[in-house]
């Protein structure tokens, strides 16, 4: 035994240290509903119960490394941070008779924009907003052996039917129950083809189901759905939250996509992108629009800065002006320490005492911190 100890002296040292070292516990808040969160809860963790997580995020919305981590920790704990709280507070006090207010979350890569958006989505979900949520735009535009067809309804535009159907599924997964409850119906007849029509008064759920089953019409269905929802909101029948992650990908110069006749397609030529762009127009009320710009969603050649106008360009700015830019900064010292406390509590970080180093190496960006702590 002694020989073994000598061989791995490090191990015994570590064990000894552990007995002396009191493993910290992270600061948490008991308020499970984001409606109750206020400035006192900033930098604390709150857990979302698994059912809600699967309702909102099962088909997208949380970054992949974070999902893996939640699986390992057997809980989904989000840190309450100032930017998300700010948006939630202003959503609480918004005058919904005015046109929908646009918020734009921006910040460095890995500063926690997507998780802030997740927090806001959770708030909107629990305050019964309809979520018109696009999890991550670049996924639409990336070459992934996708079927790209010319649109039958709009001339010169391209459809990505399977992706659109997938998105409709995501929409139903998030809002199916709420739509049933609200019992929203279509306001006019829609003729898809000679045989297929959707008469006036059909529930939106049925409309979406049709889009899912007939993928050919999924893109049109998305557009119609948006218009219907806008109209319903303006008529005060429901509230809607448009949330788009990777918004600046709409304004990229090119995509990896090609139609069957090998024509390259720009983002502006895609019907789904046009639908997304029309979703952020504030020609409706009773809702809010939240966009996230991220350098990672931009093309490789355009990632120098994380500031919004650099990413969306003048055209993008004019499209969404006026909007409220919300900066998602790196972690504050309190947040940083709490985050590391959390990792240590969960035994994810095995060596205490290197906080200064980690702070310097990751410049307090939460995603970097997560990646750096993984092998330690």
């Amino acid at each position: 035994m002694r020989a073994y100890r000598r061989l791995c002296g490090y191990a015994t040292a570590a064990v000894k240290q552990e007995t002396q070292y009191q493993i910290p516990t992270a600061a948490r808040t008991e308020k499970k509903n984001p409606v109750d969160h206020d400035s006192q809860d900033v930098s604390k963790f709150y857990t979302i119960d698994p059912k809600t997580v699967s309702n909102i995020f099962q088909t997208g919305g949380l970054p992949k490394p974070f999902t893996e981590q939640t699986n390992m920790f057997a809980e989904t704990a989000l840190m309450i941070r100032q930017p998300a709280l700010e948006v939630i507070n202003s959503l609480k006090s918004t005058d919904f008779q005015k046109p929908a207010v646009r918020y734009l979350l921006y910040g460095q890569t890995g500063s926690g924009k997507s998780l802030s958006l997740a927090h806001i989505l959770h708030y909107a979900y629990s305050s019964k907003f309809i979520l018109y949520h696009i999890p991550y735009v670049p996924i639409w535009l990336k070459y992934d052996r996708k079927e790209v067809n010319w649109s039958s309804s709009k001339n010169g535009m391209a459809d990505i039917p399977l992706i659109a159907a997938q998105w409709l599924k995501h929409f139903v997964h998030q809002n199916g129950a709420l739509l049933n409850e609200l019992n929203l119906t279509t306001s006019q007849d829609y003729v898809w083809s000679q045989r297929e029509t959707t008469p006036q008064g059909t529930t939106l759920n049925e409309l979406v189901t049709h889009g899912i089953n007939r993928a050919k019409y999924a893109c049109d269905c998305m557009d119609i759905l948006l218009n219907e929802l806008k109209a319903h909101c303006s008529n005060n029948r429901c509230k809607m939250l448009v949330a788009i992650d990777g918004f600046n990908a709409f304004f990229n110069e090119k995509t990896d996509l090609k139609t069957e006749d090998r024509v390259k397609v720009t983002p502006q030529q895609i019907t789904m992108v046009q639908t997304g762009l029309s979703a952020v127009l504030s020609d409706w009320n009773n809702g809010a629009i939240i966009m996230v710009t991220s350098p990672r969603a931009a093309l490789n050649t355009k990632r120098e800065s994380h500031l919004p106008i650099y990413l969306i360009g003048r055209q993008g700015f004019e499209h969404i002006d006026p909007f409220i830019p919300v900066m998602v900064p790196e972690l504050s010292t309190v947040e940083f320490n709490n985050m590391l406390d959390y990792y240590e509590e969960k035994r994810w970080l095995q060596k205490p005492g290197g906080r200064k180093e980690l702070e310097f190496l990751t410049s307090k960006l939460p995603a970097d911190l997560m990646a750096r702590c993984a092998p330690l």
Partner: protein
């Protein structure tokens, strides 16, 4: 086996110990003059030198620059750095390091799963999750005590068991790990395979430990040739 190794060591003239002063002859192509010493870049080691007063010996010697994979960070471990170097292919150190870090992450995941499943608090406390400790333990468990060298006697070669230095045996152990990782089935990633292998080896099990035992067995079988070392 250990006794056998001890017996062999009697005849060996291998010297251990820290060489405080620079050698007369250095590596053939070194850019540093021969009197330059290797740097002591860990704070704790330096503190020890100060405590023992050995530092006086170092005051007048010039030191080589610390290498680019050496730091005084608490997360840095010379053994891990060495392992990365052994894994290295075509100088892609960044990639090698990423792969090893992924391995560590995987080890932590596996161990944490076990940790969370465990209900007995005593067992829980004694469980090792730190991947570096597991790596060290695994390497320590797979270090051979002897090696075989070919010796020519009477026109034919004999595989002769020979004692092995600590450094060499560490190298053998690490090399076996990397070899096993490269020979694995293509369907598993290197990191996943390494993680399970390291955990197994830390529990005295797995391919690499078997390799060590095989070597020992061969040495045992060839013990009749042991005297060829001297005569």
């Amino acid at each position: 086996m250990a006794l056998f190794a001890k017996y062999l060591r009697i005849g060996s003239t291998v010297k251990h110990g820290f060489q405080a002063f620079p050698q007369l002859t250095t590596a053939k192509y070194s850019v540093y003059p021969p009197h330059f010493a290797e740097p002591v870049y860990k704070k704790q080691e330096l503190d020890k030198l100060y405590e023992s007063g050995e530092i006086e010996n170092y005051k007048l010697i010039p030191f080589k620059a610390a290498k680019s994979n050496e730091t005084c960070s608490i997360f840095h471990d010379p053994m891990v750095a060495k392992f990365i170097n052994y894994m290295l292919l075509k100088g892609q150190k960044k990639l090698a390091r990423e792969v090893l870090e992924k391995t560590f992450e995987k080890i932590k995941k596996l161990q944490l799963e076990k940790y969370n499943r465990e209900t007995d608090p005593e067992k829980k406390a004694s469980m090792i999750i730190d991947p570096v400790v597991i790596l060290k333990k695994a390497v320590a468990n797979s270090k051979p005590l002897l090696k075989l060298t070919a010796v020519k006697r009477g026109g034919s070669f004999y595989q002769v068991p020979v004692p092995i230095t600590d450094k060499e045996s560490t190298f053998y152990a690490m090399r076996w790990f990397v070899q096993c990782g490269r020979e694995k089935d293509k369907s598993i990633s290197f990191a996943d395979f390494m993680a399970t292998e390291l955990i197994k080896a830390s529990n005295n099990d797995g391919k690499v430990v078997n390799k060590k035992l095989d070597l020992h067995k061969q040495c045992e079988a060839n013990r009749a040739y042991a005297h060829y070392r001297w005569s």
